[in-house]
Chain length 351, copies 2
């Protein structure tokens, strides 16, 4: 019988954090690509545009004028998917027609007053201000809501409709689907193995050294064993931390610096401002925040769409939508980009 080699033989892998499987078919990278190529946005973004509703001093859709902010700036989304006062749909009349109330708030957070920067182009202290703002908004909205989802859509390819560096914060009175799955998986792991799933997982990856991308005093970045997107990563604290506000000043500084390195590596990989969606997951908040959530470990997911170059992305379509996630290179092969020099001066990349 042939010896199994992950880089040659397709197999399926289990995601124990979200209870899902992925089909790993490394040999598919050999396939020629004749499909859609993405535009590469070559237009330079002006540093300040008075008509951009995210800029300091600009007027927003609801008529409010932004302050002349100098660091981060948090405000209510003018087109929120969640509002605080939506009434309840009432009881369901049939098990196949179930609806529930959804209440919440949607906020937008600008990272910087300039439109022509991105997180990797910002200084470590500037990124640290973003980390602090993430922790505060988690505390503020988490006082009322059980789930505070911080996420960044970066790049037009990821549905981002404004080039100004920003993220969004959607807080809800319910645990969203993915949060529910992570809650169930982490709780079950803790009760079976007596420690948090992601604490043990981080320790294992440090031992195995097969999928590590970056490590620092307080943090690690790795390509998860069960990654779906080609260059997906997981950002984990080394210490057991349940939520962003618990991070110490030293951990926040170190996080800012490892984020800058990770995002610079991403930019350098295909010599483009790397698109992605990213977001933070931590223990639920709200009125139950005081319960035992020790099975939770704080983490961030990075989901970048690119596959082969700045203009060829992975499409999660047909088989992926109807059957199962599928990837075209193994998570271990992704290590290759770990060897790229991350310190090419940015000015060479974004003249």
């Amino acid at each position: 019988a042939t010896t199994f080699r992950a880089s040659e033989h397709q197999h399926i892998r289990y995601n124990p954090l979200q209870d899902e499987w992925v089909l790993v078919s490394a040999h598919r990278m050999k396939r020629p690509w004749q499909g859609q190529v993405e535009h590469q946005p070559l237009t330079t973004v002006p540093r300040h545009d008075p008509h951009n509703p995210l800029c300091p001093g600009a007027t927003r859709a609801n008529g409010e004028v932004n302050p002349d902010y100098e660091g981060t700036f948090l405000f209510d989304n003018d087109f929120p998917a969640l509002q605080p006062d939506a009434p309840s749909p009432g009881p369901s009349d049939h098990p196949l027609f179930q609806a529930e109330a959804a209440q919440g708030v949607c906020k937008v957070m600008c990272f910087h007053p300039w439109s022509d920067v991105t997180l990797p182009l910002m200084s470590v202290p500037e990124i640290r201000a973003v980390v602090d703002a993430w922790a505060s908004v988690t505390e503020e909205l988490g006082a009322q809501y059980p789930w505070v989802q911080i996420f960044e859509n970066k790049g037009a390819m990821m549905g981002c409709s404004n080039p100004h560096p920003h993220c969004q914060v959607w807080a809800s009175n319910f645990l969203p689907d993915v949060a529910q799955r992570e809650e169930r998986c982490q709780r079950a792991y803790q009760s079976q193995h007596g420690e948090p799933l992601l604490v043990e997982y981080g320790r294992q990856e440090l031992l195995r050294k097969e999928r590590l991308v970056l490590t620092s005093e307080h943090w690690l970045v790795l390509v998860p064993f069960w990654a779906v997107w080609p260059f997906q990563t997981l950002l984990l604290p080394r210490r057991h931390v349940r939520r962003l506000p618990e991070l110490t000043p030293a951990e926040r500084d170190d996080l800012s610096s490892i984020m800058k390195k990770l995002l610079t590596k991403y930019d350098n990989l295909f010599e483009t401002s790397f698109p992605y969606s990213m977001g933070w997951h931590g223990a639920p908040t709200g009125s139950e925040a005081g319960a035992n959530w020790d099975h939770w470990q704080l983490h961030a997911h990075y989901y970048p769409p690119l596959l082969r170059s700045a203009t060829v992305r992975k499409f999660m379509v047909g088989y992926e939508m109807l059957a199962q996630a599928q990837r075209d290179l193994t998570p271990e092969q992704v290590r290759i980009w770990n060897t790229l020099d991350p310190w090419i001066p940015f000015s060479l990349l974004f003249p």
Copy 2:
């Protein structure tokens, strides 16, 4: 207290077939769109291109020459994600690092010898030949494999890399993730309520008449109560049918005709060759095919990406990837396109 109106007040809905929730925020359609717009492929596709590997008489990547086929044509994918002989990764050494063997085959099925047609532009008898080919390939591969996934990626926006009308068939020795979820949900519903989930669901939608798109003697098309994509539909037989090969000749003819109508409506909605991913789900096959799968009802899912026009799509990014699916109009509002006349001559749309 304000009275709940689905078209105004956000809420969450439950998908009982796949055990997932969706956030429905109808009022988000008011949001202006300044993000990415898609290219509309205006290039005309030649009817025959000897260099297109899907055309009759063309040479494929592996050197094989296609026959001069006149109807449908099924062949092995030259870059398969699943191969019949992949060895097993062997036992796992840790619960967080689980991999399993994946074996299978990937086939491509051309619908028609011409590259410049799509299913809605084909005649009902030509579509009927596709339906018959779907049933045969399910039987053929289902003799060995427990899951035979038929799916079509249509349009460059859906990662389709060849304009020639075709679908794919991936058969595997495992039940993919989505199949597992549908298996679990349908089995539980049957054991609790004594009848197949989707049979009861179809009956309810026929009574409620709020989300029906098309009905015929043997079939119905509806926007599911829990739809995620803006114009997502579900195609169901009226009779309890477990798998494609069980369809009678009359049901196959009627299916061909309702598919032509549905896809014409889609094309007419934004006056474009409507992109989508679609696929069939039926009871598992393989060596366990003889077991009791009466809780399964055959169905097809259509997942189209467009939201507002031929060039503005829905992005399933940030919140959707990190937290929960979210839609910007209610499934009931989608009925509006039911009122569009589906019989505009195609020649007006594709001159």
